[in-house]
Symmetry: C2
Subunit: 396 residues, 2 copies
Amino acid sequence: MTARSVSILGVTGSIGQSTRRVIEEVRAQGAEIQVEAVTAGANLPALVEACRSLRPRFAAVADPALLLDARDALAPLGVEVGAGVGALEEAGARRADWVMSAIVGAAGLTPTMAAVRRGASVALANKECLVCAGPLFIEAAKAHGARLLPVDSEHNAIFQVLTHPERVEKLTLTASGGPFRTASKEAMAVATPDQACAHPRWSMGRKISVDSATLMNKGLELIEASYLFGFKSDLIDVLVHPQSTIHSLVHYVDGSVLAQMATPDMRIPIAYALAWPDRALVSAARLDLAGVGQLTFEAPDSERFPALGLCRAALNRGAAATTAISAANEIAVEAFLSGRIGFLDICRVVEEAMSELEGAESGLIAKSPTSFDEVAAVDQAARGAAQRIAGSLAAA
Amino acid sequence: MTARSVSILGVTGSIGQSTRRVIEEVRAQGAEIQVEAVTAGANLPALVEACRSLRPRFAAVADPALLLDARDALAPLGVEVGAGVGALEEAGARRADWVMSAIVGAAGLTPTMAAVRRGASVALANKECLVCAGPLFIEAAKAHGARLLPVDSEHNAIFQVLTHPERVEKLTLTASGGPFRTASKEAMAVATPDQACAHPRWSMGRKISVDSATLMNKGLELIEASYLFGFKSDLIDVLVHPQSTIHSLVHYVDGSVLAQMATPDMRIPIAYALAWPDRALVSAARLDLAGVGQLTFEAPDSERFPALGLCRAALNRGAAATTAISAANEIAVEAFLSGRIGFLDICRVVEEAMSELEGAESGLIAKSPTSFDEVAAVDQAARGAAQRIAGSLAAA
């Protein structure tokens, strides 16, 4: 791997920590990786631990109240420290060849855009950049010559086997099917947050676990894939594959289907994004297909999992609708996790919020946002609609 | 697809006919494909039919007795005609950008070498070029700048996903497991030629069907893969995969495993080789994983299928040993198909023939052949040894 400077936006989260392990491993093999900047939310001990290993030039904490503590802790390591949203943006803006965008949620957008505007290679683990502001984000990347390297295991898989982008017939995103793959609709109607969060394959946060259970996560990935690779929704299939071994597939016009497989270890797509266009040696567990024994596949059930159809409809409607569906879903999942609505109500809230926005006099959802401020306005409108609908369902 | 001139060595066989269908299909889409030469063995009606569609400049028949008949039949089409081994060689030597090497058996070697010496792109469906004369053939291709495009579904799969040849950890060749995958050793001992030829997935000739039943075919493919891609035998695994949907896999140092999948239709690898480095639109049946439902994998049983181990041992021993094992197997399969020896005797004959050659005073198998004449000498010695051993087994 050639020498490079990197920054990690969100170094204390799960992806950030995996990125750190990959960097430590390739450094131990002799790769020259200079870390320019790292960021954290409020987890100071984890930030200090990361800085001790990575030795960045600059560290930013999101919480301004932590500035002095962070300075005290990091000064001995020779790390310059900043705090607040301006410091997060500075972390993205500072010169580094490669930037891992792993801040969770909308907070990741501004620092990632700072890296995009520099024309950096951006390893994209933050979903909001694409789901909330897809076309704007993609256009900015093109305009500034920023290379986007998808880290999500499905998109990374597609990226790995996208040998002939002009000769693609369709893409297939695989989905584990989540904890309710074989559940009856009756059982799903009374599912608890803990049941919804018991994901069969990956250990994840509660919001994304619920998204996996509704398949909304796959729907949002479909939106991401559409923006990232430039394919319309009808060229992107979703296939339920409970073993999560094949991470996604690309179908070509000659009948060949290429796939990437691996054990479920995020170091693998992170290392691919880091070493791209080369590959790096990583000690993740090796896939043993004879040990796995069998891989199974089934079409998703659109009756029990309406989220996929809702996301396809939003994609067909345009960029404002994809911004809105993600925001409405966030509110609906919160309402479910706090016990205010049932599991099946999540998609009901989303669907009704989308209907309401489509019928709104403002016409907010009909036109594509032309700025991040317009994106934020759509986002707010969708949250407001979803809150009202969730509230009336909770009261019923 | 850019305009190109092509020749098809072995146009009337199964691969040749599939090649013709691919060419007809891409021509219908507007691709400019000029056919320079085609060859056939003795099937004049099929040759005439092929010439009517392909309109080659030159056609060669292997059987010299057919020269006048062929001229009579092809003159109205404006096709120049030759016959005999010299004409086959001329077909390979005539200027074409791309040559399909699909003559079955050792007869394919000379015309394919003629194409290699011109530095053509050679789509390789003939197994003998690699199995019998691998290192010599590969060296010749390198020396003359000939690009080898593997057509065998397994090697073509590897070729399609060999994105980082320097970063490969291992290759996996998949094997259907053949008709005796789940058979007891007792049942295999009394298996008839018809039982051995009842391949579960592909319809093939009797010799190669028996090779599939013994897994010798996979062992020979392992030898081919080793020479073609430059990996030692211990970096090439064999995995039994009865659905034959994943055609082979490449494992990278970062833990990613890339695979090519497709329905079992040889037009798919042929089209890939023809259009390479582009891809062409081909109407082969599309893979439907939800329809397939499940893919299964198991390690091969080296006790019931010793052929894999024999081929690995030959590879480790060197080029003369791989020449010898292919020749000895040919004789052993003939003896089985003619009812002289039992199914399990095939590998016994091969194993004993290899032992005999290794112990031979001539030392023939110890040194790598430096010419095709030396290859032929090893081939003859192996056939002689195998004949004697098969004879003694038959007499016992």
